[in-house]
């Protein structure tokens, strides 16, 4: 199997032309990034707001719980059938728009719940001190709550990204491009090396992006919080929750 994958991947024909790896990789990243940015633009401010004010946390819980139970493939096929006939366009937009909607919907919960959990898990004494020293609400949010919530926010972004990368693979089934093409086409053509190579590419992509984000996180989060000094490991309930929230859906 490894030899088959190696042969497929080292065949230069698979790295050129409209069906080449670079094109599909670019498509895959494009679908994922668009969805992630839109989702972040919705989820992060909402999570900050709900966490800071403490109002509307039931929204977060409701969204997180209901979305987890929805099957991704069902959601994707449903939206394509629902929306595609109404888009009168040539090219991929017909399938791209419904797919992006699903990707955005799937990317929101992790970021929203983690941002909310991160903000609300800030030690009440710390928040009290910030207020008592005369910080305004916005100063408390940006200077104190956000920096302390960063580890959880990052893990939310990471699991959302993974979710989107994984689901973007499935969009090949509804006629889009991306690395998922090799999996779906390989299956149709009974071409296992192609399928397996595509699967390896997707897995490597997901892994690289996660490692990259982990590196950014390490750089962005204060050493005082990452506790590279901390003497004891404490199980933080919020972290526990965030870790559970990171379970794969796709």
């Amino acid at each position: 199997m490894i030899a088959e994958i190696w042969n497929w991947l080292s065949d230069s024909a698979h790295w050129h032309g409209p069906d080449g790896v670079p094109i599909h990789l670019r498509e895959h990243l494009q679908y994922s990034l668009i969805a992630l940015l839109i989702a972040a633009a919705i989820a992060l401010p909402l999570g900050l707001l709900i966490g800071h004010t403490g109002r509307g946390s039931f929204v977060v819980v409701a969204i997180a719980n209901s979305f987890r139970a929805l099957p991704t493939v069902g959601l994707l096929t449903f939206f394509v059938i629902l929306i595609a006939p109404h888009i009168h366009s040539t090219g991929t937009a017909t399938y791209l728009i419904p797919s992006e909607i699903v990707l955005v919907l799937l990317a929101i919960p992790s970021m929203l719940t983690n941002t909310y959990a991160g903000i609300s898990a800030v030690d009440p004494a710390v928040r009290d001190a910030a207020r008592g020293m005369g910080m305004r609400g916005s100063q408390t949010l940006w200077q104190v709550e956000l920096p302390n919530a960063l580890p959880l926010i990052f893990s939310g972004i990471r699991s959302s990204f993974l979710q989107v990368i994984a689901t973007a693979t499935i969009t090949a089934y509804v006629s889009l491009g991306g690395l998922g093409r090799y999996l779906i086409d390989g299956l149709a053509q009974q071409d296992y090396p192609q399928m397996a190579s595509g699967a390896v590419l997707v897995a490597v992509l997901a892994l690289l992006i996660d490692v990259l984000l982990a590196a950014v996180q390490r750089y962005a989060v204060s050493r005082g919080i990452t506790g590279r000094y901390s003497r004891k490991r404490i199980v933080d309930p919020a972290e526990q929750q965030a870790m559970i929230a990171a379970a794969p859906l796709t």
Binding site: A199, V200, R233, M243
Partner: protein, 214 residues
């Protein structure tokens, strides 16, 4: 939707049954593997970081990719449901091993010392004290794994494994919403059923949590 179900009830019930089995078996296997593994990661501290890291890496593999890579590794056929069970077991273990390790670690030192002082040996203390106290957290992890498994199983329909995901692929090919909505509904109901069963079991196992503090 009800009409559609009536007309195809045999087939749909069959898919539902498969779906339930393909979601449940990995939960069972996953728990059986994660319990000792999580305990080890707790008992030997140096094991914790690598275990958590590997678990995190396994998470990053998209399910469709894993469904396709496993036949090559296990020498099974692509359509073999074993692939789905193994793949979901991998995810379940990846999720639960950290939950188990952290849950066991969250039992307070006072309780542990008291148990030791009363003469529990290591195994007795684990089974009679630490595990029961860790049940609620482990159950929370299991519930997440269960709901996520139910959703993941339907991905396997793309490679032709018979389960509720077939309703999605069929509906998509026919541009017909009804089977898709029915599939989503049944899938959500199945997830809810798993969720309720786990909650119920956890409740039975932890009678002290129902005691109202006065």
């Amino acid at each position: 939707m009800i009409d559609y179900y009536r007309q195809n009830s045999d087939q749909i019930n069959g898919w539902l049954g498969w779906h339930a089995r393909l979601s449940a078996l990995p939960l069972l296997f996953g728990l059986l593997i994660a319990l000792p593994l999580g305990w080890l990661a707790r008992r030997y501290r140096w094991l914790y970081p690598p275990v958590v890291t590997v678990a995190g890496l396994l998470y990053t593999i998209p399910s469709l990719a894993l469904f396709i890579l496993l036949p090559g590794l296990l020498k099974t056929r692509i359509l073999d449901p074993t692939n789905v069970v193994v793949a979901l077991t991998v995810y379940t273990v990846a999720l639960l091993v950290r939950v188990v390790a952290d849950a066991l670690g969250s039992v307070s030192e006072d309780v542990l010392q008291a148990a030791t002082a009363m003469g529990y040996r290591r195994l007795g203390r684990l089974l009679k004290v630490e595990l029961p106290i860790a049940v609620p957290v482990i159950a929370a992890g299991l519930r997440v794994a269960a709901v996520s498994n139910v959703s993941l199983v339907s991905v396997a329909a793309l490679i032709g494994v018979p389960e509720l995901g077939q309703l999605f692929t069929n509906g998509f090919q026919l541009s017909y919403q009804t089977p898709i909505l029915l599939g989503i509904l049944l899938s959500v109901l199945l997830a809810l059923a798993f969720d309720s069963v786990i909650q119920l079991v956890a409740r039975v196992l932890t009678p002290w949590r129902r005691a109202v503090p006065r």
